[in-house]
Symmetry: C2
Subunit: 192 residues, 2 copies
C-alpha cells in the first residue's frame, strides 16, 4: 500500500502547524516540522539556528538570491535546499506522514497519494494568534505577520517557481480563522 503523504503550507499565525500535529495524532502518523531542521543540520554540518534561518527566507530578499555569486559553486542556501529535498523525499518513502511547510508540496509533486493543503486566515486573527503563541516582540504583530509571509512567499517563489498560496497548488485550502483549528484537522483526516 503506497504511503499517503499530507503537506501543509500555511500563513504565519494561521495555526497550520497545530492543525498538522492534530491531524497526525488522529491518524497515528508522524508529523515532520522542526525535526526537519534538525535532520538538515545533522546532514549538512551547520548549526540548527543557521539552518532554520537559511531555509525559511532568502538572505537579502529575492534580488540578492537571484544575483548571488555562484562562481564558486552553489551558495550555502542552495546546498541546504538540496539536502532539504533529499530528506523530505526519503522520509516520504519511509511511510505515511505529514510535512509542515518546507516546500514539501513542490518537492513531492510527482508522488501519487499526496494531499496538499493550504491554511490561511485573516491578518487580524493571525496577529492575535502570534501574540498569544509567541508573545510580544519589538515589531508590531501586523508587521511580523506580513514580513514572515513575504519571506515564505519569496523563498517558495525562488526555489519552486510557483506562487505561494495560489489556489491551484493545493487540493484543499482552508480558512482556519473561520473554520477553526479542530475542524480543519478533521477535514484533513477525512481526505486522508
Amino acid at each position: 500500500m503506497p504511503e499517503r503523504i499530507i503537506t501543509i503550507s500555511r500563513e504565519f499565525g494561521s495555526g497550520g502547524r497545530t492543525i498538522g500535529k492534530r491531524a497526525a495524532e488522529k491518524l497515528g502518523i508522524p508529523c515532520y516540522d522542526k525535526e526537519l531542521i534538525e535532520q538538515i543540520a545533522e546532514q549538512s554540518g551547520y548549526a540548527a539556528d543557521y539552518v532554520k534561518e537559511e531555509t525559511e527566507s532568502l538572505n537579502g530578499g529575492l534580488f540578492s538570491a537571484l544575483f548571488a555569486d555562484r562562481s564558486m559553486g552553489l551558495t550555502n542556501q542552495d546546498k541546504l535546499w538540496t539536502i532539504q529535498c533529499r530528506i523530505i523525499t526519503e522520509l516520504a518513502e519511509k511511510g505515511s506522514c505529514i510535512f509542515i511547510g518546507r516546500c514539501a508540496d513542490y518537492i513531492l509533486e510527482e508522488r501519487e497519494n499526496c494531499l496538499n493543503v493550504f491554511i490561511h486566515a485573516s491578518v487580524e486573527k493571525r496577529m492575535a494568534r502570534i501574540v498569544k503563541q509567541y508573545g510580544e516582540r519589538e515589531d508590531t504583530p501586523e508587521h511580523r505577520v506580513k514580513e514572515k509571509d513575504k519571506q515564505r512567499m519569496e523563498y517558495y517563489r525562488y526555489y519552486t517557481g510557483r506562487k505561494w498560496g495560489d489556489v491551484y497548488n493545493y487540493q484543499i485550502c482552508l480558512d482556519s480563522g473561520e473554520l477553526g483549528i479542530e475542524k480543519c484537522a478533521d477535514l484533513i483526516c477525512q481526505l486522508y
Copy 2:
C-alpha cells in the same frame, strides 16, 4: 436560527454546479442556479437569454465596461447587476440555500453564516468534462475553458473589485478533479 448560506464559485468545467446541486439535495435546501437568471429576467423585463449573456461576461471585455457611456445613466448591464444583488439578498433572507456563481460570495459578504466555496480543477480535467457535458463546439475545449474563465474573472473583478479565485475570498477551496464531485459535496455538507 439564522439562515445558513453556501455560495459556490467555480471554474468552468470543474463540476461546481453539480457539486452545489448534490450538496443541496443532501441538505434538503434549495440551490439557486439558472433560476436566478429567470428571476432577473422577470424583474427586469429582459429576455432570459439576454440576461444570461449580460450577467456572465462584460460585453467587449473589461476595457469596454470601464469606459462605457454612462452619461445617460447606468448601462443595461449595471441595471441587471443591481437586480441580481437584490434578488440574491432577498433569497438569502428567505431561508438557507446554495447559490451557484453570480458573485453571491461578494453580494452576501456582510452576512454571518455564509460559507464561500471555490471549486477548481486542472485544465485537462475540465476540458474532458465540458465535452462530456456540453458536447463539441467549433471552438477547442481548451479555448472554451480559458475563455469562459476569463469572462468570469473580468466580470467578477469589475463588479466586486476582487480577484476571482483568490484563496482569501473563500473559507474553502477544493480541487474537484483530484477529490471528486461526491467528496466535494460531502465536505461542503459537513461544513454547513
